[in-house]
């Protein structure tokens, strides 16, 4: 084939251009750490990485919700534990109230203040909050669950409707323990016990002991129900976490540059580019018959 000067020039430019282009791609991949800059660099991986990013975002949202639920339930558990303690204390107070060794007045003056204090403590616990929301008010989290009007009338001001939260595509969890069902019996029983002690009605006081026992078992049931949910939420969190780390490693596989490989390729390409430049200098400048003929 006849080789002309323009061919040599054009080819030289093309070789330099192609070499620079490869160098540029490798530089981009190394410095951004991503295998593709635009989706068209690798449509399949780009599309998958978009889906993976969305899945990660969804999973992060569920984790946030599940963690919120976990903390809510932990707070509920703490309150219920303390209420159980109070129930036990109240039971022993009532037991000593049924003990006949002391006079009625003595029993009333010693035990009634204790019970009053316990009642107040129990109402306070019933109105426990987590991040400003009342734990036992059902769905009306902005109003207290219990209200004590006068000394003996307890009213439940929450709702029986519970709050549910999604912690997965098809799984949801109920946050609340119904305060009216779980806590009211205890407080009612303690109020009754105090009133009986005040009025020295020992026959009735004996039945209160049964009330307290059943209130205690209601509390324990509520606590174990809450514990079961807590377990479910914790399992979900750990599932989501391992799902998350799987997704992240797949995502990284899809879009991240293998830095060692990229560095090696980059270095290789730099050498190639240098060689191309060197060849270009020679072909363009050195060889021309005119420069030889001149001297003859």
């Amino acid at each position: 084939m006849r080789i002309t000067n323009q061919m040599t020039t054009n080819n030289t430019i093309r070789y330099i251009q192609e070499s620079l282009e490869r160098l540029n791609t490798l530089q981009e991949q190394s410095s951004t750490g991503k295998q593709f800059q635009l989706p068209s660099d690798d449509p399949i991986n780009a599309s998958q990485s978009l889906s993976l990013e969305s899945a990660l975002s969804v999973s992060a949202g569920y984790q946030k919700t599940a963690n919120f639920a976990k903390e809510w339930m932990t707070a509920t558990d703490t309150s219920l534990s303390e209420l159980t303690d109070i129930a036990n204390q109240a039971t022993s107070v009532v037991m000593s109230g049924l003990n006949d060794t002391e006079s009625a007045d003595e029993r009333a003056s010693a035990l009634v203040p204790q019970l009053t204090e316990m009642i107040n403590a129990a109402v306070d616990l019933g109105n426990s909050t987590y991040q400003g929301s009342y734990l036992f008010s059902g769905v009306s989290v902005d109003s207290p669950a219990f209200q004590l009007s006068g000394t003996s009338t307890l009213s439940y001001t929450g709702t029986s409707k519970a709050m549910t939260r999604s912690i997965g595509q098809n799984s949801s969890v109920t946050l609340n323990i119904n305060g009216d069902e779980a806590i009211s019996p205890l407080i009612q029983a303690m109020i009754k016990a105090r009133d009986d002690l005040t009025s020295n009605n020992t026959t009735d006081l004996a039945t209160v002991l049964d009330d307290l026992k059943s209130a205690l078992s209601t509390l324990t049931d509520a606590q174990s129900e809450n514990g079961g949910r807590l377990q479910q939420v914790e399992n979900t969190i750990s599932d989501l976490e391992s799902f998350d780390s799987n997704l992240k490693s797949i995502l990284s596989d899809k879009e991240d540059t293998d830095t060692t490989e990229a560095a090696a390729l980059l270095e290789n390409q730099e050498t190639t580019y240098q060689a191309v430049l060197e060849v270009a200098t020679r072909t363009l400048s050195a060889l021309n018959l005119f420069s030889y003929l001149q001297n003859s």
Binding site: M7, S47, S51, S54, F68, V139, R165
Partner: protein, 467 residues
Amino acid sequence: MSSLSSGINTALQAILAQSQVIEVIDHNVANVDTTGYHRQSAVLEATSSNPTMSTYLGIGAGQLGTGVTVEQIQRFSQDYLDTQYRAVSAQNKNWDYQNQILTQVESAMSDTSGGGLSSELDQFWAAWQDLASDPTETSYRQEVLTDAASLCQVFNNDAQQLVSLQQDQNETIESQVSQINSLAKSIADLNGQISQAEAENQQPNDLLDQRDDDLDQLAELTGAVSSTQANGEVTVSISGHMLVTGQNALTLQTEADPTNNGLDSIVWANDSHSFTSNGGELGGILQARDVYIPKQLNAINQMANTLITQVNALHSSGYTQDGTQGGQFFSGSSALDISVEDGLTAEDIAASSSASESGNSDIATQIYNLSSQKLMANNTQTLGDYYNGAVTDLANTTQQASDNSGQSATVLDALDTQRQSVYGVSQDEEATNLATAQQAYQAAARVMTVINDLLDVVINQMGVGSG
């Protein structure tokens, strides 16, 4: 009758012919880097010979040559290579322009390294998901507002960018149309000059170069094809419509098309028929402007519209923290004008499905659940999937355009090399030819000196009065 003086003439012819050869070489060397220049070469021919008598016998001794002359200045070219080259260059430019514009569209949508519609949409859903976990948390409400606003912003930006990219193409189209018109005019003019020169039996080499260069450019622009007539003129047509016949050139003009958002359409000035071009730069631009960009624009418009309708329907059925019924969440109807309802505050967000249930986050959950509902493409795709599909579609189209552009460039390079091999100037070759011509010139001059010496002998040193 041969004589010494005719010998001088022969030597002179040789000197003149070799001078012409050197001039042609000079022209070649001067144009070594000129685009479209076809190398020329002086074709030498022996001039007609005369019958000669033998000086001794007085009978015919055969014919004696009278020297050399330049028969023609030949121009090196190969028509079928030009035809192939132009066809491939039209394809190449077509893909090249599609690729360029598609890459701009892709960059405008910028969706790999975050900040794109996909990640904004994810964040928007995540904000509702957060709010669903705790509707009493004001920071979550604020987050919903902020993320919704930035989602709208990205919708607006993307749509705006696409629209302005589309309008940018209009300007290119206008300048290309005027370029086509001036090339057509130039070809028609050159046709006239060339047919005239050829009628006078002149080889209009440099005019042919100019016309070939014009035809190359026209093919790149529009995929125009040409054919040479017997009189040396070319006829040029684009997609079956004549552009240049003989010395007449038709013109194209642009006019705003009300059915296509006022974007330019191209029509033939003579018969108002609409111009179509599938090849060349112009074909690539039209394809990008009228097919690719509208497709993307339509995709994000539909997404925005669905989002507005669905979110608004749920939101207006809900209740705010203080128990008032929720209003519109988004306003607008397309990607270009979607925005968060004017004056909507964090307190106005209706997350609850029932008045006076502060812990109720059913509406927030339902809005979040929209993210996994198949609302798009006749209820077969979620919003996220649909957008992912649009991005992937764009990416595949871009990749295809880029691949085709690269492949056709390789073919084009090969064809150009072949063309160059036929008509390009090689300095080494010219140097060799120059050396040969120089030697021939010197030899002819030497012959002339010898004959001169011989005449000197005859005239000055022979016969009467000499010595």
